[in-house]
Amino acid sequence: MANDRTSLILRHPLTLMTALLAVWWLLPLGVKAFMRLTFWEFQAPSYYATSHLHDLQDYWAARVKSKNELIGANIDLARLNAAYSLRNQAAEATEAELQRLEELLDLPPLPEHRYEVARVVRRDMNAWWQRIIIRKGSVHGIREGQAVVFRDGVVGRVSEVYTYTAAVELITSREFRVAAHFAGDPRPVQFQGGLNASFHAPTGEVSTVPADKKASLTEPLELVSSRLGGVFPDGLHIGWVYQLEPGADGLFQSGLAKLDPELQSVQEVAVLIPLKPSEEPDIDALPPAR
C-alpha cells in the first residue's frame, strides 16, 4: 500500500519535477560543474563546425563578387596597408623613444602581451548577458580573466575557458566592470557595461569621474582602458562620453559611455596573453586566425 501511495505521488508531474530539482540541487557542485564542462566539450565540435561554416559563407560571399569589385577591394587594402606600415614605423619610433625614456628614468618595463587572434564562433547577446564564444581555448594559452580586444578597442574579458573554445564576457555586459580613464587624464574612473537597447549602439555607465571633467556633444571625452586595473594595457578605446552629471557628494560625476556598435557584430578578436619576462612578443609567429 505504502509503495503504491509513494509511486502515486511520484506520478504527479509537479512532484516529479520538484523531486528532480531537489536531487539536482543536492548534487555536489563539483559534479554539476563537471557535467557542464563535459556537455560543453561534447557540443564544442559543433561550434567549430558552425564557425567553419561562417568562414565558408564568407568565402562564397567573396566568390560571388565580380572581379572588378575584388580588384577595387584589393586597391583599398593596398592603401590601408601603406597607411598602416607608415603608422607602424611611427609606432616603432615611439616605442624606441619610450624604451629610451624608461631606461633613462630607470622605470620597470610595462607588462607585455602576446596577441592570440581568434575567430568568433557565436555571439550570444541579449538583455541579460552579453558574451561571445571564440575558437581558441586553453591549448592556445588562454586563461580566465585575460583581456580581449579587437581593432576598435576593448571587447571584454575571458570568462570561461575550454580546451579549444572560450567564452568572453563582453564590455557591454552588466557584469563587466573595469577601471578606465579619459584620454590624457590618468585619474581612474569606473566603467560598467549593461545598457543595450535594441537598434542602438550599446552604452555603459561611467562613474567616479572627477568633478572637474566636462563633456559635451561637440566635445566628447574618449574613455580608454587603464593599466591600473592590472588586466588591460593602457589606452585602448572603450567609448565616448557625451554628458556627465554631478553626483550628490559633489566629488564625482557619472554619465553614459557610448560604445562602438561594431561590438555587436565582432567577428575576430585578439586575446592578450601576458608574457613571462623571458618571452618576447613575436607577431609573425602567431598561429593564423582560421
Binding site: 506520478r11 508531474p13 509537479l14 516529479l16 519535477m17 520538484t18 528532480l20 530539482l21 539536482w24 554539476k32 560543474a33 557535467m35 557542464r36 564542462l37 563535459t38 556537455f39 560543453w40 561534447f42 557540443q43 559543433s46 558552425t50 557565436r122 555571439r123 550570444d124 547577446m125 541579449n126 538583455a127 541579460w128 548577458w129 558574451r131 567564452a167 552588466r174 549593461g194 545598457l195 543595450n196 537597447a197 535594441s198 537598434f199 542602438h200 550599446p202 552604452t203 555587436q264 557584430s265
Partner: protein
C-alpha cells in the same frame, strides 16, 4: 528501436533546432536583438510524452542547453524542468491534436518564461528604460515567432517519433 534511442533522437532533433535559433541570434545581435523560443523544445515533451520519458528528455536537454547557453549555471535546466512540469500538468486541458491550443499554450509558457527572466535577471537595470524596451521588443518578436512555429515544430517532433516507430499519443496517459 528502443525508447531510449527514440528519446535521444528527439534530443538531437531539438538540439539542432536550438543551434539554429542560436545561429539566428548570432546574426540578430548586430541590431541588438535576440529571439527566445525555448518552449519549442519543451512543450512537446510535456504534453505528449509519458512522464518519466518526458522528464528524462527534459533533463538531458536541459543540461545540454545549460552548457550551451549563457546565464547562471543550472538556469536553463531549472526553467525547462519547471516548464515541463507545467506542460505535463496542463495536458488535460491542452489538446495535442489542436494546433491552436498548442500555439496558445506555447506562447503563454514562453511569455511566462520571459517574464520570469526579465524580473529575476534584471539586477541593476530594472530601473532603466533601455532594458524594458529591449525586453518588450525581443518578447514581441519571440511571441510572434512562437505563434508561427510552435505548432509546426510540435508536428515535426511527432513525425520524427512516428518515423522512428513510436506514436506517443497511442500510449495511455501517465505511461
Amino acid at each position: 528501436m528502443k525508447k531510449r534511442y527514440q528519446v535521444l533522437s528527439l534530443v538531437i532533433w531539438n538540439w539542432v533546432g536550438l543551434q539554429i535559433v542560436t545561429e539566428i541570434n548570432h546574426y540578430l545581435s548586430i541590431w541588438g536583438l535576440a529571439v527566445h523560443l525555448d518552449m519549442l523544445w519543451i512543450v512537446f515533451a510535456g504534453v505528449s510524452l509519458g512522464k518519466r520519458v518526458g522528464l528524462a528528455y527534459t533533463f538531458l536537454f536541459g543540461i545540454l542547453a545549460d552548457a550551451h547557453l549563457g546565464g547562471p549555471h543550472n538556469l536553463w535546466l531549472s526553467i525547462y524542468v519547471v516548464a515541463w512540469g507545467i506542460s505535463c500538468t496542463a495536458r488535460r486541458v491542452v489538446q495535442y491534436d489542436s494546433p491552436m491550443q498548442i500555439r496558445l499554450f506555447s506562447v503563454l509558457l514562453q511569455a511566462l518564461t520571459l517574464t520570469f527572466l526579465a524580473v529575476a535577471l534584471a539586477g541593476g537595470q530594472a530601473d532603466t528604460f533601455a532594458y524594458w524596451q529591449r525586453i518588450l521588443i525581443e518578447g514581441g518578436i519571440s511571441m510572434s515567432l512562437m505563434w508561427l512555429f510552435s505548432a509546426p515544430w510540435f508536428r515535426l517532433q511527432h513525425r520524427l517519433l512516428l518515423t522512428l516507430g513510436w506514436n506517443p499519443f497511442d500510449e495511455k496517459p501517465g505511461g
